[in-house]
């Protein structure tokens, strides 16, 4: 089994630090009015953005599992 530095540490760092950037982006566009959740189209985009983040979390987690256990 490869060490933690090679398996899950990069994963946690990627979505921890990357997550901070992503969250800041979501807060900033909401606070500035860049995205207006009263508009139907903007609400759609809000959920697309959230979906995209977890979509990549899942892909990387699945690939790491596959590499380690399949």
């Amino acid at each position: 089994m490869p060490p933690f530095e090679q398996t899950w540490l990069p994963f946690f760092y990627l979505y921890g630090v990357g997550g901070i950037f992503f969250l800041s982006g979501m807060i900033v566009i909401r606070k500035t009015g860049g995205i207006n959740l009263e508009k139907r189209r903007h609400r759609y985009w809000w959920w697309v953005l959230i979906f995209g983040f977890f979509y990549f979390v899942l892909i990387h987690a699945a690939l790491t599992f596959a590499a380690l256990y399949l």
């Binding site: 090679q6 760092y13 630090v17 982006g25 500035t32 189209r41 983040f53 990549f56 380690l68």
Partner: protein, 698 residues
């Protein structure tokens, strides 16, 4: 390290030549859609999202990816994909921040934004930095093309009895010549359409290599079992080896690279700007990152994985010591038949050509907008008609393209000193992007960010970055996350974190001290010889900057010099440039996007959601340049007179190629009919008896 020559057969060369001629004829056909410089550079802001999303694939994938990611796939395994799967973090900032700003402010280049948001001097500095960035990118493109083609050629050939050696630089010059001719007569529409075709072909070629490779190895299970666990992990080891590690690449590619690519790659931005609306641009960006990039990650890296697997079972076929930058060509040749190999190589090199074309087109746009026009305004008093001016600009754009092609070739010289294209590109990204990235980012999202702050970021930030290059230990080491320092890889990737921190630090400190700066400037202005003092300070700042560039001093001395330099730049900037925050942020930051849209339209926004209508067109005469729909159709679209309308050929598969933007005029009573001018018909290339589709833009 094993090198290869004369790979491929004459059949492969015939396929490659036919492919090239075909793609050039295809691109040239779309040159007829360039009626103005706007069409030449931006494709007339008319295309559907899917067309742009696919054409972006060829730009991003084609650039250097097949060579560099196959190289890293061969050296490190599946973690070669990580750079393609870390771009989502900055998407909210892009699609709801920068994208609407660049579209609605109608800016034609990033430096123009810097002038509107800050000052002409900032535009000048941004132009220099951006041109360096773009020329460097072109250089990387040429280097990659040279490295891709050189294994196909013999080491030398004879011409009229003279033995001519084939060198990388010689080959790059020939490639640059061909690329220069193509882009000069194509323009953005031609690039979009050749990239669209090549996007599909590249995906197909990459999938073909994977399928043929797996079949060569005897099936997916054998391939999977051959590779060691470390090679199957999607992310690299946290901080080692220095030549390829996760944390360095996260900061270099995931942060500096992603923000740089989305926010300052004019080639990519021009694609988004050629979308018919901001929402279509959002769709193109999201679709590209969600689906096309993960597919591309497999497509571009799999030759390296297959190469590794073959090298484990048949080292005589693919040597484990193969030059990583040659592995793509070697594997493609091993697993495919004559002709198929030629097709794969043609797809790769033609796509590389598209990438360089896109960049050269973008550089020409920056040149016309940020050098030619300001210089002409300053030098010439002669008044020209719009048509004369446009013709002259188109000619200058073509000359500029040729000139920057030559500079791109020269940029290959320093990049060719790096062990692989991947490392050359990584170092280039981590070094050139941070000052502009910080300038753009804070400019868009931080209202308090001033002209003085961006100037001190450009000068002070660059000075700190140069100091980091002179003294990687201890300056970059502090941020290295335990990555070992080796002179062959002097913190190539993690250097991006140090550079970002340096630029952010200068930007934030300058912005937060602006009240103190104003007090100081008031004091200076009370002095009798204040102008002379400030000119002397400007000269002193230039000398201090030169001291840092040429490393004239020890680390503590140069750190002191930088602090003084930043202080000088701040007071010089505050003294010479008036900055009015209210005026300079109006419609130019994400905080005032509603106003930006209003300025774009020229009146109040009509956000009511209407439906699309299909109409037959008829020509109208007279001076009125609006488009006239029936009262019923306008009600369906929920449009009012003066709103903006997008009118396109109703055949969706054209992706907006035949379309125009205009304004709703007075309605009439003939339902299903739209009246347009001769100019609209020419612009939209509308065909008699073909239905049009109309929708309200805003």
């Amino acid at each position: 390290m094993e090198t290869y020559n004369s790979i491929g057969t004459s059949t492969d060369w015939i396929v490659m030549i036919v492919y090239f001629i075909g793609i050039m004829v295809f691109g040239s056909y779309f040159g007829k859609y360039n009626r103005t410089t706007t069409d030449f550079f931006f494709g007339g802001r008319r295309f559907a999202w899917w067309l742009i999303a696919m054409s972006i694939v060829a730009t991003g994938v084609g650039s250097h990816s097949f060579i560099k990611y196959s190289a890293k796939g061969f050296e490190a395994g599946f973690s070669s994909t990580m750079t393609y799967m870390n771009d989502w973090f900055f998407l909210p900032f892009f699609i709801f921040g920068w994208l609407p700003i660049i579209v609605y402010t109608k800016i034609r280049s990033i430096p123009e934004y810097f002038e509107k948001r800050f000052s002409p001097a900032t535009r000048f500095l941004a132009t220099i930095l951006l041109l360096l960035y773009m020329i460097g990118y072109v250089g990387i493109g040429f280097l990659t093309m040279g490295k891709a083609i050189i294994p196909l050629l013999p080491p030398s050939f004879e011409l009229f009895g003279v033995q001519i050696q084939i060198t990388l630089m010689g080959l790059v010059v020939v490639i640059a010549f061909i690329v220069g001719i193509y882009i000069t007569y194509g323009g953005q529409t031609a690039v979009i359409f050749t990239d669209l075709a090549q996007g599909f072909i590249l995906i197909f070629a990459g999938a073909l290599i994977f399928t043929l490779g797996i079949s060569y190895l005897g099936g997916f299970d054998i391939f999977w079992d051959l590779l060691p666990t470390e090679w199957k992990l999607p992310l690299a080891n946290f901080n080692e080896p220095p030549g390829f590690n996760f944390v360095g690449i996260f900061w270099q590619d995931g942060v500096a690279g992603s923000v740089g690519f989305l926010f300052m790659n004019m080639g990519l931005l021009m694609r988004f700007m050629s979308c018919k609306s901001v929402d279509e641009g959002r769709k193109a960006a999201a679709f590209n990152i969600l689906f096309m990039l993960p597919i591309s990650a497999i497509v571009v890296g799999n030759a390296g994985w297959i190469g590794k697997a073959i090298s484990l079972i048949s080292p005589a076929v693919v040597s484990p010591n193969t030059d990583p930058d040659a592995i793509f060509v070697v594997v493609a040749n091993v697993i495919s038949h004559p002709g198929v190999f030629g097709f794969i190589m043609a797809a790769l090199t033609a796509a590389l050509m598209s990438t360089v074309d896109t960049l050269l087109n973008a550089i020409a746009a920056i040149y016309i907008n940020d050098v030619h026009r300001p210089a002409k305004k300053w030098l010439s008093k002669k008044t020209q008609t719009w048509k004369e001016e446009d013709r002259q600009e188109l000619f200058s754009a073509r000359i500029a393209t040729a000139f920057f092609t030559i500079l791109g070739v020269l940029a290959v010289i320093p990049f060719s000193a790096f062990p692989t294209v991947y490392e050359a590109h990584g170092y280039f990204h981590s070094t050139l992007t941070p000052p502009l990235v910080v300038g753009i980012f804070f400019g868009i999202f931080w209202r308090r960010f001033t002209n003085t702050a961006v100037m001190s970021t450009f000068v002070g930030g660059v000075a700190l970055m140069v100091l980091g290059m002179h003294y990687p230990v201890p300056l970059i080491q502090i941020f290295a996350h335990g990555t070992e320092y080796v002179p062959e890889h002097p913190y190539i990737y993690i250097g991006a974190l140090y550079n970002l921190v340096a630029c952010v630090l200068v930007a934030v400190l300058t912005t937060l001290t602006q009240n103190h700066q104003q007090k100081l400037i008031k004091q200076i202005k009370k002095m009798p010889n204040h102008r002379f003092i400030m000119i002397s300070v400007s000269i002193a700042a230039s000398i201090l900057f030169a001291m840092i560039i040429f490393n004239l001093g020890s680390l503590p001395v140069l750190l002191g010099v930088i602090i003084i330099l930043i202080f000088f730049i701040i007071i010089v900037s505050d003294y010479f440039f008036d900055y009015n925050e209210a005026e300079k942020t109006d419609g130019l930051t994400v905080w005032s996007l509603a106003k930006t849209k209003e300025y774009f339209k020229g009146s109040k926004i009509n956000d009511a959601e209407g439906e699309k209508v299909k109409v037959c067109w008829r020509t109208k005469s007279g001076e009125d340049e609006t488009i006239n729909f029936s009262t019923t159709d306008m009600a369906k679209m929920k449009a009012n007179i003066g709103d903006l309308v997008y009118l396109s050929d109703a055949r969706n598969w054209l992706g907006g190629l035949k379309s125009v933007h205009s304004v709703y005029g007075e309605p009439h009573s003939e339902s299903g009919i739209v009246y347009v001018t001769e100019e609209h018909i020419k612009q939209g290339q509308f065909i008699q008896n073909k239905l049009l589709s109309a929708e309200k833009e805003m």
